[in-house]
Symmetry: C2
DNA sequence: TGTAATTACGGGATACGTAAAGATG
DNA sequence: CATCTTTACGTATCCCGTAATTACA
C-alpha cells in the first residue's frame, strides 16, 4: 500500500467531493479510488468519509487526516525538489505567472522585498487570467485561484480567500438591496467567467443552504473588468474580498448578504508536472507563502 | 513506487550508515534496499549517497532529502494517528516510560504544566533504563535515548544531545587530565552499558577522527549509577551534558577533551508498533517536543 | 581475501481496469 | 431512473528474496 499515493487520492476526493471526479483527475479507474479509500479506512480503523450517493463529506477523523495529509504530501514534494535543486543557487531568470488583478493587488506591491533579497535573480511576471500551459511557456511557478482543474500538477495551497457578493453603493441606491440569495435573481449580475457555462453558487447560513444560478447580461473573462464593472455600478458580482479592499473600506462598494457564506477560494502555487521545482521557484513560493500567512498581508 | 516507503528506507540507510544494517532493521533483503535507493536516485536525477565500501555518506542533495523526508514521514504518521484518535479526548490514564536519570532531570520537573493543562488525565511514569516491551506493558509512549535498535516502532526524533567525556575535579587532581582521546586508555572508565559488549567511541576534531575502545573495570547498566560514580571520582565517563548540568557549572565535574566531538545522542519518542498513537500520547509528545525545543529547557 | 553493494532471475502478491450489481435521491 | 459507489474477476505489473557477480579496503 502506497501511503502517499493513498493520501493524494484521499485529498483529491475530499476536494472534489466525489470518487468519480477524483478518479478522472488522477487518471485512474473509479473502482481503484473506491478500494483505496476502503483500504485506508480499514487500516485506520475508522470511517473517514461520510458517503451518501449525492454528497460526500469528511468525518471528523477524515478532516484531521486531510489536513495532515496535505502537509505530508507537501513535505514529500519538498524532499524531492530540495534534493533535486540542492546546490543550484537562486539566480538567473525566474518565470512566474499569476492572474492579472491578483498580481496587481497582492503580488506586485510586495515584490521589492523578494528582488532585494535575491540580487542575482531577475523575474519574469506573466500576468494573465487564462490557464497558461506552464511547460509550453517554460514557466517555473504559477499562482492560481480557485479549484485546480489540471491535477497533473504539483500543487501547494498557500491561502484561502473569502468570497463575497458585492455591488457599488450607487447601484444599490438605484436598484435596492437584496436581502436573500434568491433576491439576486432580480438583479443584474456581472459574471466572471473563463469558459462559458452557467455559474451556480451555494450560499450557506448556519446549516441551511441555498443554491442560486447567476443570471446576467454581462460576462467578463478578466477579474480586472469585473472590478471596474462593479465600481461603475453595472451590477453585483461574486468576488474575493481582496479585490475591493479600499472600496469596501470607503463604502463605495458594499458587501451584500453578509450572513451568508460562500465557499472559500483557494490560492495555489503550481509547478510544471513532470519536472522538479527549481530552487528559485521554491524560494519564491516559500516567500509568498509567508506573505500570505502574515496577518497584515493576508487575503 | 511507494515514495513514503522509499523515504523510510533512505532515512534508515543514512542513520545506520549501511545498506545491510538498514535492510536488517527494516526486515527486508539488502538487494531491495539497494534497488530502492538506486531507483530513488534515478527519479531525482542526482546521487544522494556517496558510497565507498566501508563508509556511506549522504551528499548535499541527500542531506536535504533526508531532512525533508524525516518531516514527511512524521507528518504522514501524524495523519494516521490523528484520524485514528479523532474524537477521543485527553483523559484517562497515560502510560509513559523513560530512562531513569533522563526522566528525573528533564521530565519530572516539568510535568506540572502538562498535568495542569489536562486535568482529566492521570499519568503513569515508568522510569527504567531497560528497553521495555511497550506492548507487553501496555505503554502508550516511550522516550528513548540513543540509536533505536527496534525499528518496528513508529519513532519521532525530539532532540539531539551533546555527548562529553567528564570526570570529577578530585579524580583529575589525583590522576591528571587526559589531553587526547588516546590518553583515556591510561585512565579508569566508568562504562554505561545495557548489554555487555565493548564500547568504542569515535572522536572528531575538525576532519580528523580517532577511535577509542573504552576499557574500564566498572560497568553500570543505569545512568544514575554512572552519574554517582563520576561524582564520587571513580573515573571518567562518556555521558550527555544534561546529566551534569549543575556539576559542570560549579566545576565539581569537568568536561574533558573539549575540542573533540562525539556523535550526538538522539532523543526519540516511540509508539508501540502496530497500534496507532492515542490522542493523549500524541499530546504528551507534542508538549515535550516543545519543551525540548525551547532554549531554556533544551538538552 | 573478506565484506558489502550490485546485477540476474524466478515466484508471488498487489493493484489496476472492465463489467456487473447495489444503493440512493 | 439516472447516477454514483461497491463488488467480482482476470490480468499485468511491480517488488521482493535467493543466488551469483563485482567492487573495494
Amino acid at each position: 500500500m502506497d501511503r502517499l499515493r493513498v493520501m493524494e487520492t484521499f485529498v483529491r476526493v475530499v476536494e472534489t467531493g466525489s470518487f468519480s471526479a477524483a478518479a478522472r483527475d488522477l487518471r485512474m479507474g473509479q473502482p481503484a479510488v473506491s478500494k483505496m479509500i476502503a483500504a485506508l479506512e480499514e487500516r485506520i480503523g475508522t470511517r473517514l468519509l461520510i458517503r451518501s450517493t449525492r454528497r460526500l463529506t469528511p468525518s471528523e477523523a477524515g478532516q484531521a487526516f486531510y489536513e495532515h495529509a496535505l502537509r505530508a504530501i507537501a513535505e514529500a514534494n519538498e524532499a524531492d525538489a530540495a534534493a533535486h535543486g540542492a546546490g543550484a543557487g537562486i539566480e538567473g531568470r525566474l518565470r512566474v505567472c499569476a492572474p492579472v488583478t491578483f498580481a496587481r493587488l497582492n503580488l506586485v506591491p510586495k515584490l521589492d522585498a523578494f528582488l532585494s533579497a535575491h540580487p542575482r535573480l531577475s523575474l519574469d511576471l506573466i500576468m494573465d487570467d487564462r490557464m497558461i500551459d506552464l511547460i509550453a511557456e517554460s514557466i517555473d511557478v504559477g499562482l492560481r485561484l480557485g479549484d485546480l482543474t489540471d491535477s497533473a500538477l504539483i500543487a501547494r495551497k498557500l491561502a484561502s480567500a473569502e468570497r463575497l457578493v458585492v455591488a457599488s453603493a450607487t447601484y444599490l441606491e438605484r436598484k435596492g438591496t437584496p436581502k436573500t440569495p434568491g433576491d439576486l435573481l432580480a438583479h443584474d449580475a456581472v459574471v466572471y467567467e473563463q469558459r462559458s457555462g452557467g455559474q451556480e453558487w451555494v450560499f450557506k447560513r448556519g446549516t441551511s443552504e441555498t443554491s442560486v444560478a447567476l443570471r446576467g447580461r454581462l460576462f467578463i473573462n478578466a477579474a480586472e473588468g469585473v472590478r471596474e464593472a462593479v465600481v461603475a455600478g453595472l451590477g453585483f458580482a461574486v468576488v474575493s474580498r481582496w479585490m475591493f479592499g479600499p472600496e469596501l473600506a470607503s463604502g463605495k462598494v458594499v458587501s451584500l448578504l453578509p450572513e451568508w457564506n460562500l465557499p472559500l477560494m483557494d490560492l495555489w502555487a503550481i509547478y510544471p508536472s513532470g519536472k522538479f521545482a527549481t530552487t528559485k521557484a521554491r524560494a519564491f513560493v516559500n516567500w509568498f507563502e509567508k506573505i500570505m500567512a502574515s496577518p497584515a498581508d493576508a487575503l
